[in-house]
Amino acid sequence: MNVPSKKLSNSEAADKWPFLLPFMTVMLISFSLTALIWIALSPRTPTPSSEAISSKKTSLFASNYPANGTFQRELVQLKNRKDLKESDELEIQKYLLASADYLEIPPALAWCLLFQESRLNHLEGIELDKPSSGLGQFSRFSFFEINSQLDRFSPNALNLIYLSFGRDIRPIAAKSKDTVSSSSYFSIPTAVTSSTIYLHNRYFQLSKILEKRAIDYNPDILWLFAAMAYNKGSRSVIALWNLVLKKQGQESFYKLLHDYDYFNATVNDPLLLTKSISKIWEDKKSKPYAAELGAHIKNISACSVSPLFQTTRSLTGAEP
């Protein structure tokens, strides 16, 4: 009996299984295609060297606030004098953390802004007929935006109201005779929620301007600009952007939106700030106004930016 040889030459194998080569080719292409589709559709995992992720990990803002000695001492004094009750402080903190978490606001920035505006006195201006009052110093136009124009901004803002109160509490107003009502800005939960929404609206507004032009930015730096806009209007920020872009060029403008040291140097340059503000207001107003804006952002930065990014001078020198 003849036993056929088990070893076949290549030509013999090709003769025996004529479909082997096409079959292997089809299989190989199918595997390659499946792998490519798999890679394309899988969620992207960040690489450790990614600039964006590293900046996200190392937040510009302090985890403990106020970060600067001046505000820390003032906070202690407020508590010692009973100007700030412990229960009020805790309630402010509770709603601030919830709002900041939902709206992705750095909590240190939101806290420092409210401290700068009212020294955390939620009844600030209640007995006086002042144009702005309460924890975040709201004016009638700030109320108008919260009450009638939230649809122009992020849907998260309205969702936050429903999540915090279980219903729409608007219209909100400075109701001095009904401070416990959820519709009163003198009530702490309402004041914190609406003030953080107003801050978030400024961030939303500024970010849209940049995104429309595909301009990249560091979100932490943009939050500092939003804090400037909260206090002095978005126009002051935009005027500064226009001036830096026009006079110093694209590279400097990029640095202004990415580099905290460059941001700090720019907003602390009184000549530059005055020049940008003078595009809006006449000379008589622009100088004091620029000085006010400079002091505001200097205090907010010193209070909210992590000590890792600050100099000893900025941590101790900022005056309320």
């Binding site: 004016s139 136009f141 935006e145 124009q149 429309k212 206090n231 209007g233 595009k279 809006i280 004091p288």
Partner: protein, 179 residues
């Protein structure tokens, strides 16, 4: 007193004659022509300070109505576009840009970050007011425009307040939207 009455009587006698009637007719025609010319031609913005532009527009609304306002606005737009194309000084350019921001944002260069804000925050509302002037609907749009301008410039209503251009724009559209 006597001379005045004699002058009046002489004038009456003169104007009762055919040549007097013709003279009176010609004088009346001259005045009518001057009046028509003044009110039918758009105001010239050339040579007058740019800061007066708002006042000219406001006066045209109160004295000549919406048609006159539209006509003058077109003339102002043309004037501003010439200035922005060839400004004589930095101050003039800044003033023209500020007026353009609040009334003609399309004249601003694309590089100006304020351009998109103007279109989003007040240009459309102004168009609505101009379409339906002096109506309750116009007043509603005006309130929204006013709030947008306040929040854009200074949300805190402090002494520094609004810029001159923002104040004048609000005054102008307050008048246009007054029922």
């Amino acid at each position: 007193m006597k001379s005045l009455s004699s002058f009046t009587s002489k004038m009456c006698t003169y104007f009762s004659k055919p040549q007097g009637a013709i003279t009176l007719f010609l004088i009346s025609c001259t005045f009518l022509f001057l009046y028509m010319y003044k009110h039918s031609h758009p105001a010239s913005f050339q040579g007058q300070p740019l800061a007066n532009s708002y006042l000219t527009l406001l006066n045209s609304v109160t004295t000549g109505g919406i048609a006159k306002y539209r006509e003058n606005k077109v003339a102002l737009r043309q004037h501003l576009s010439l200035i922005l194309a060839n400004p004589s000084s930095e101050n003039e350019e800044a003033k023209a840009s500020n007026i353009a921001l609040y009334l003609f944002p399309d004249l601003l260069p694309e590089s100006n970050f304020e351009k998109t804000q103007a279109f989003e925050l007040w240009a459309k509302l102004q168009e609505e007011i101009e379409k339906n002037p002096r109506t309750p609907k116009a007043r509603m749009f005006f309130e929204e425009m006013k709030s947008n301008i306040w929040n854009y410039e200074n949300p805190r209503m402090t002494n520094s307040g609004l810029s001159e251009d923002a104040q004048e724009t609000i005054k102008l559209f307050h008048e246009l939207s007054s029922p």
